[in-house]
């Protein structure tokens, strides 16, 4: 297959992956681009200060609270460990171990 034939057969893939890459980077850059042009105070300031915890809570909510009792209890155990010691690998290992044990026990 010569180069032109390869390019024309690969064009849909190139367009798709290129487009996916572009919109993904734009989503990553947009937050900073907007915030560096805004002066933030009042209600917008309170909105932005709440965002980090709100994103983290939203990420974990379905897999922590809607997946079953093993996941909910393992989330609780992880939270308690993280509250007592500032050690992320340990909290991660405890969460995985507890969920694994409870899934076997409750199955």
């Amino acid at each position: 297959m010569n180069a032109a034939a390869f390019l024309s057969s690969a064009l849909p893939s190139i367009l798709t992956i290129g487009g996916m890459a572009l919109v993904t980077y734009l989503s990553r850059a947009a937050g900073l681009a907007v915030m560096s042009r805004l002066s933030v105070s009042g209600r917008l300031e309170r909105f932005m200060k709440a965002i980090p915890a709100a994103i983290l809570a939203s990420i974990v909510a379905p897999s922590a609270l809607a997946a079953g009792p093993a996941e909910a209890l393992a989330t609780l155990a992880t939270g308690l460990v993280a509250w007592r010691v500032n050690n992320l690998p340990l909290a991660m290992a405890v969460g995985v171990a507890v969920v694994l044990g409870l899934r076997l026990a409750l199955a």
Binding site: L32, I51, G79
Partner: protein, 259 residues
């Protein structure tokens, strides 16, 4: 322009600290990278296509969702437009994540800041955010290269693992069999607790949790993260103002980040 004194460090030790902090999480990411590579080959994507996606798009959730839509047998061929639009929607949550890091990123020059953002994933974002909040609590000078270091760690593991999955792995058990699906829930839970939420943070967290739970049931993809985050932000903005206890976290765009 920013005054020199407003800028924060962007150093090699900071980059290394971010890389090391991300290692345990990156191992979990690699499990899903192998899975992505394997599924991509089963879907008929070439190694070049699979690896281009990991190198240039570098977004696990949207890459896995794209495999669902990837089909060359449709009447119109590959559904280019819906693949790109789905990717955009899945990644819209990054807008809020980037905005949440802006108090620090606006104190870097724009090259390093916008370059680092290419490598921002859920994992490297969360680790960087909690590091920056901790720096503030301990009155330690932040290092802006932490985000890039954490991101490069995920990037290296993601790309190596998707290639491995495409080339070598012929079968992989369901990660949930080993509890590995829960590793991410555990990490993000620990990071949320590590933010040490105060009483006035609880209402936004509850609003975010309830909204995310409802939206995870009703909407496809990752909408629940974006809607939950917006609900939490609105609860904070429209709810009662917190009492005037000093909050060590700067708001995005506070005075130190102003020209």
């Amino acid at each position: 322009m920013l005054k020199q004194s407003d800028l924060i460090r962007f150093s090699l030790p900071g980059l290394w600290a971010g890389f090391c902090a991300c290692l345990p999480v990156a191992l979990g990411v690699a499990v899903y990278g192998v899975l992505f590579g394997l599924l991509a080959r089963q879907k008929g994507l070439s190694l070049l296509e699979t690896q281009s996606m990991s190198l240039f798009v570098f977004a696990g959730a949207s890459q896995l969702i794209a495999l669902d839509l990837w089909s060359v047998d449709l009447p119109g061929g590959l559904p280019v437009v819906s693949l790109i639009l789905t990717t955009l929607i899945v990644n819209l949550r990054h807008v809020l994540m980037g905005a949440a890091l802006s108090p620090w990123l606006t104190r870097l020059s724009s090259g390093p800041a916008f370059g680092s953002l290419f490598f921002m994933t859920d994992e490297s974002w969360a680790l960087t955010l909690s590091r920056m909040v901790e720096d503030q609590r301990l009155k330690r000078e932040p290092d802006g290269a932490f985000l890039l270091g954490a991101g490069l760690c995920v990037y290296a593991f993601w790309n190596a693992s998707t290639a491995l999955g495409h080339l070598l792995v012929r079968g992989l058990g369901d990660p949930s069999k080993y509890g590995l699906d829960f590793a991410f829930t555990a990490v993000f839970t620990a990071l949320l607790v590590g933010l040490r939420p105060r009483r006035h943070d609880l209402l936004p967290i509850i609003a975010a949790t309830a909204t995310a739970l409802a939206c995870a049931r009703l909407l496809p993809g990752k909408w629940y993260i974006l809607t939950g985050a917006v609900a939490g932000g609105l609860a904070a903005a429209l709810g009662p103002a917190p009492s005037l206890s000093p909050d060590p976290r700067p708001a995005p765009g506070d005075d130190r980040s102003r020209p």
